[in-house]
């Protein structure tokens, strides 16, 4: 099959005129011309770009995507270095009324920029590679979590991070859990429910494994409550931070593992669910846009957001009827990568069903951190300027706790307001299973 079909076909019936020009072996060689030609320069994408809104130097998605594409095809233009200012929030994607595959263009342009124009011994490259491959460092830190937390918290470490690597010293490194989710899972003896019919494979991603295993545990308890057998296949990073840093080779390796392992779980009768919105976005959209391993499409088609899956396959709202959680007011932020998947209203709808829970949407602005973006010293200010609108709304909301499904958004929410942040699955766990148990 041809992966080139994916980019511009938005699945709306009647779009069958589009003919892919060529099948590409590598993301970097993709021909996105038909997509670029769809652009009629309406600038809707530009008005949605949170970076262009605060950064005078960023020319915006229309330039990064279709315009740069055309320039490049005319002569031997280099990729403009401003592409590194794009945060990969993918807002421009759902803005474009004309099906221009903007984020895919940005991803490929970034890949080419990093491959051809960035020195692999530059500080920026090393820093980006390190941030993108957070997963590689995490296991080490998780082996000595207390030491790691202590060292990461030291002001000397932060100072060195900023000076040597360009990682902002403004932020607190996330704590590493003393027990990873996978350790907990093995210790408890794996799945406690067996079922032929109801089976899911959990894509926990890096963050809920190493940093917030309580989110992963909540998922397990909620799904077991509905009678699901849970598989926890081998997995690698979803690749989101790698796409965002133009490290397409790293992303390709990670994706290959994931497609293979998740594909096997699907063959065993499972659907894939993810608790992080960037992970599900990556498996669902970015993989088929950028890669063509056997099974990429199957994985994309069978991957779900954890809450969405329950809404469609179970009567989640019915199950929540009559449940209650002691007075909880939340300020909810829908991550950009949830919006893109049509999930932006979901959490508020679900929370409405639980007695004692008030969840207030804090508006449609981007949180500004966009994964590794807000960790870079030179992007920190932009990141906080973007987040300002969300912080204001959170402060105004009648709530003390934040709620979101994206781990980095939650870091930004906490950083900007001092609120404690929780995950939708944790609230569902409270409502359906009762107070959290170890």
């Amino acid at each position: 099959m041809s992966d080139a079909e994916q980019p511009t076909d938005d699945h709306v019936p009647g779009d069958d005129e589009f003919e892919p020009i060529q099948v590409f072996p590598q993301a970097e060689d993709m021909d996105l011309r038909p997509g670029a030609d769809n652009c009629y320069k309406c600038s809707t994408c530009d008005t949605n770009c949170p970076v262009a809104e605060v950064d005078d130097e960023f020319p915006g998605p229309k330039f990064q995507g279709p315009e740069q594409w055309r320039l490049k095809r005319q002569d031997d233009h280099d990729i403009d270095d401003s592409v590194m200012k794009c945060s990969n929030c993918m807002r421009c994607d759902s803005a474009c009324p004309s099906e221009v595959p903007l984020s895919q263009m940005h991803n490929t342009a970034r890949g080419e920029y990093v491959d051809e124009q960035m020195s692999t011994i530059s500080r920026e490259y090393l820093r980006n590679r390190m941030l993108a491959n957070y997963r590689k460092l995490a296991p080490l830190a998780a082996t000595f979590p207390r030491t790691a937390n202590f060292v990461m918290g030291l002001s000397a470490t932060k100072w060195m991070g900023e000076k040597l690597l360009g990682i902002t010293s403004e932020r607190e490194f996330p704590d590493f859990a003393t027990e990873t989710f996978r350790e907990w899972w093995t210790k408890r003896g794996g799945a406690q429910v067996e079922s032929e019919e109801k089976r899911i494979a959990y894509f926990h991603g890096c963050y809920s494994n190493y940093n917030t295993p309580e989110v992963a545990k909540a998922l397990v308890r909620v799904y077991e409550h509905f009678g699901y057998e849970i598989m926890v296949p081998e997995q690698s990073c979803s690749g989101t931070p790698m796409f965002a840093n133009g490290m397409l080779d790293d992303a390709r390796r990670a994706a290959e593992t994931n497609v293979r392992e998740l594909g096997a779980a699907i063959a065993d009768g499972a659907d894939i669910v993810a608790s992080c919105s960037s992970c599900s976005m990556s498996l669902r959209q970015e993989y088929p846009e950028l890669f063509d391993f056997a099974g990429t499409e199957t994985v994309a088609e069978n991957t779900w957001d954890a809450v969405e899956f329950l809404r469609v396959h179970e009567d989640l709202e019915g199950a929540l009827e009559g449940t209650s959680v002691e007075d909880s007011n939340f300020a909810y932020h829908a991550p950009c990568h949830s919006r893109n998947q049509g999930l932006d209203g979901q959490t508020i709808e679900i929370m409405d069903r639980i007695d004692g829970v008030e969840a207030e949407d804090v508006g449609d602005s981007c949180s500004g951190i966009s994964g590794t973006y807000g960790w870079k010293a030179e992007k920190y200010e932009t990141s906080m300027k973007i987040g300002e609108e969300m912080f204001d709304h959170m402060e105004d909301a009648d709530a003390e706790t934040g709620l979101t499904e994206c781990p980095t958004c939650s870091m930004q929410m906490e950083h900007g307001t001092g609120y404690e942040i929780t995950h939708t699955l944790e609230v569902l766990e409270d409502a359906l299973v009762g107070a959290r148990s170890e």
Partner: protein, 429 residues
């Protein structure tokens, strides 16, 4: 399991949002599913009812006078003049102080960025001080980095158009903007957050720096017009601060796409949807439908969510997917069609009859769209309703040319209101 509601509205432009609000008023459980962003992002934010008759007469002083004479099949004729009025007052309630114009049936005359004067029924409060019927002199301020508004030229055009006051235009640099293609959202954000900017006189805030530049240009004019970039989230506060600091009334001149007043209207409608308890699902398209044995009732529609197909079921459906621009109506070489339900779209067999050579002529394609009955149910080729529980609203309807008539937002509002109210009434019956 399907996602279940009483009323499902497809499309989140002004037609869909209004339909969802009107249905929710009838205590129905309503969901709105919308795909990409609507034409609100391009539109001026003005609510035009009718500026010119289909025959090209105008500008019309009172649009309601002309409503009676519209040809059969025009969306206003379908819903009736009374409903158009009801829809407008429904809008007035939703918009509150953010919009003006409800004190009169007559069209207001709003200066545009090209220096023409546009007849419209409702206008954002931010343009209120700029009306062309107001006899006070005006200074128009443009910015070097915003070529879409040439203030001196617009001023000259306004004078030539016979505006009953003197207008002068000046071009300034916008404090804090260096890029010559900065996005309109960048200007708005600078003012919203009142960011710190560097000026020749030192460091100050964006609002103060802008006011200072304008003050030095003022020649006793009692009002100053800016391109519509004065803030987004906090537009009212920005405008009030500028007016205070300059010491005169401040207004915005509506701009071409992309348009902040359009975005503010979008925010206003979506805030209202949230307050009314309408569930909104955005970023994903409806791609198909299924009937339940009963061929003239839609049982459910299918939402495509990155490859997974999620059924959504409701009792009543409203189709508000827009026209050729919004992609509610699509064309291929040899046919024009409505892609979700394949509702009948009448058009000439021969595609060479779809347009006339004169680009400014009366273009048949501008009227392409669904033909509904008086309840706004789309009709098939034999004039029977396609489905008993499907209504259509907004630019997906045919029989009118919004660009020539200046009736775009008005038709979407009136038909959205009518379709949503009916859907809300009928569900559960």
């Amino acid at each position: 399991m399907a996602i279940e509601d009483d009323v499902l509205v497809i499309g989140g432009g002004i037609a869909g949002a209004t339909a969802a609000l009107a249905a929710a008023e009838r205590d129905a459980r309503v969901r709105l599913v919308t795909y990409k962003q609507s034409t609100l992002r391009h539109a001026s934010g003005l609510i035009d009812i009718l500026g010119y008759t289909p025959a090209g007469d105008g500008p019309l002083i009172d649009p309601f006078d002309a409503l009676e004479d519209l040809p059969e099949g025009h969306p206003y004729e379908r819903v009736g003049a009374e409903t158009v009025r009801d829809a407008l007052s429904f809008f007035d309630d939703v918009a509150g102080d953010a919009y003006a114009g409800e004190h009169t049936d007559a069209n207001a005359l709003v200066p545009t960025h090209g220096g023409t004067v546009k007849p419209t029924a409702r206008y954002p409060a931010s343009t209120a001080a700029g009306l062309a019927s107001d006899p006070r002199d005006a200074l128009l301020v443009g910015f070097e980095t915003l070529p879409d508004f040439e203030a001196p030229l617009a001023a000259a055009h306004l004078e030539a158009a016979g505006a009953p006051f003197e207008t002068r235009g000046v071009t300034l640099s916008f404090p804090g903007i260096v890029r010559d293609d900065a996005k309109v959202t960048r200007y708005a954000h600078l003012l919203d957050q009142d960011e710190t900017v560097e000026t020749a006189a030192g460091t100050t805030t964006a609002r103060e720096a802008l006011a200072e530049r304008v003050r030095s240009q003022l020649d006793d004019e009692p009002r100053v017009g800016f391109p519509a970039v004065l803030g987004d989230e906090r537009a009212d506060e920005v405008r009030a601060d500028l007016a205070d600091a300059i010491g005169v009334d401040v207004f915005e001149v509506p701009m071409g796409p992309p348009s902040l007043p359009g975005m503010r209207l979008e925010d206003l409608l979506y805030d209202a949807l949230e307050a009314a308890g309408v569930a909104v699902t955005s970023g994903v398209p409806v791609i198909d439908y299924e009937t339940n044995g009963d061929a003239d009732r839609i049982d459910r529609v299918v939402v495509d969510r990155h490859g997974a197909e999620i059924p959504h079921r409701a009792d009543q459906y409203v189709l508000a997917t827009g026209g050729l621009v919004g992609k509610g109506v699509r064309s291929e070489r040899d046919r024009v069609f409505e892609p979700i339900f394949d509702c009948h779209v009448s058009h000439a067999e021969d595609r060479y009859d779809w347009f006339v050579d004169d680009v400014f002529g009366d273009q048949p394609y501008a009227r392409f769209g669904l033909a509904p009955d008086r309840e706004l149910r789309p009709l098939d080729a034999t004039d029977d309703p396609e489905f008993a529980n499907l209504r259509a609203a907004g630019a997906v309807l045919g029989g009118y040319d919004f660009a020539a008539e200046k009736s775009g937002a008005g038709v979407s509002l009136a038909t959205g209101y009518a379709a949503g109210r009916r859907a809300g009434e009928e569900c559960g019956d």
